[in-house]
Amino acid sequence: MLLLLSASAWLYSALLVLYPKAFWRRYGAQMRRDFRELSREGLREGGATELVRVWAATLSDLVLTALMERGIMPARNAQKSVDPRVAASAMVVAVVLAAVAVTGASLWQTPIYEASAQVWVDQEQGDQQTNLSGTVEGLQTIILTMIHAIDSRPVADEAIQRLGLQM
């Protein structure tokens, strides 16, 4: 849920550039904060469905008011008498922008691959050597590790291939 809220807030922040610079410099921080609050409240009250409603209302409002601020659309009482074709175009623009922002974000982020290795060390006690595989627990641990290794092999192979690692 936290991730959903963060992603939602990030996307909204990105879309604020649609407003003229002076406008978002003056009100951008407040709008971001209020949108975050609205999303949090929506998610708490009605879950993902309410969050979608908040987004739909906010997105169309953002595009329409941005067009008005830029003087592309007549301002006076514009919200009450918006041409349905203009409103539909605004929604299409908003959806395209959102899609571009999401795609851009996913391309911009560098994937992080994590790997771990386990090293088994036999313990030598005096002149007597304890073999890890000789105990029941040790044997179980080794078997589990082997299973994990087999399971993760295709993922590891793909990562090695994509990154061009020399193994």
Partner: protein
């Protein structure tokens, strides 16, 4: 010529969002999100101001001298965050009153023509 005080009636009619904000600020200073919540609460959720319309309206109201920004202060609900509070000016109040008076006249006229359910047209008896 430039010294003449603007006439409140010259700004009418106001947009619903502007009047909503003015009514919310009628008796207290509020920050942006609190104004949105107040509008939603007062109208039982029927009217919700989206951030774009809300701040665009506030911008116009500031430019026309209807609201001013009060000093920033911490939000009691959010420990560290500072909020910008807005206050209705005297001129803003006069504009709001002129709009309410205009709407009152409109409602009276609508009532007299039977537009309002459960209300008798004026002059049809008490």
């Amino acid at each position: 010529m430039g010294d003449q005080a603007p006439i409140p009636e010259s700004y009418l009619p106001l947009t619903p969002a502007v009047l909503d904000i003015m009514v919310a600020l009628g008796d207290e200073e509020l920050h942006g999100y609190a104004i949105m919540q107040e509008v939603r609460r007062r109208t039982a959720g029927k009217r919700r101001l989206a951030p774009g319309t809300h701040y665009r309206s506030l911008k116009q109201m500031e430019e026309r001298g209807w609201v001013v920004e009060a000093e920033e202060r911490p939000d009691p609900d959010l420990d560290d965050e500072r909020r910008r509070y807005y206050r209705l000016t005297e001129f803003g109040r006069r504009v709001a009153m002129a709009e309410v008076e205009r709407l009152e006249g409109l409602v009276d006229a609508a009532r007299s023509k039977g537009f309002i359910p459960n209300a008798r047209p004026s002059g049809a008896g008490a």
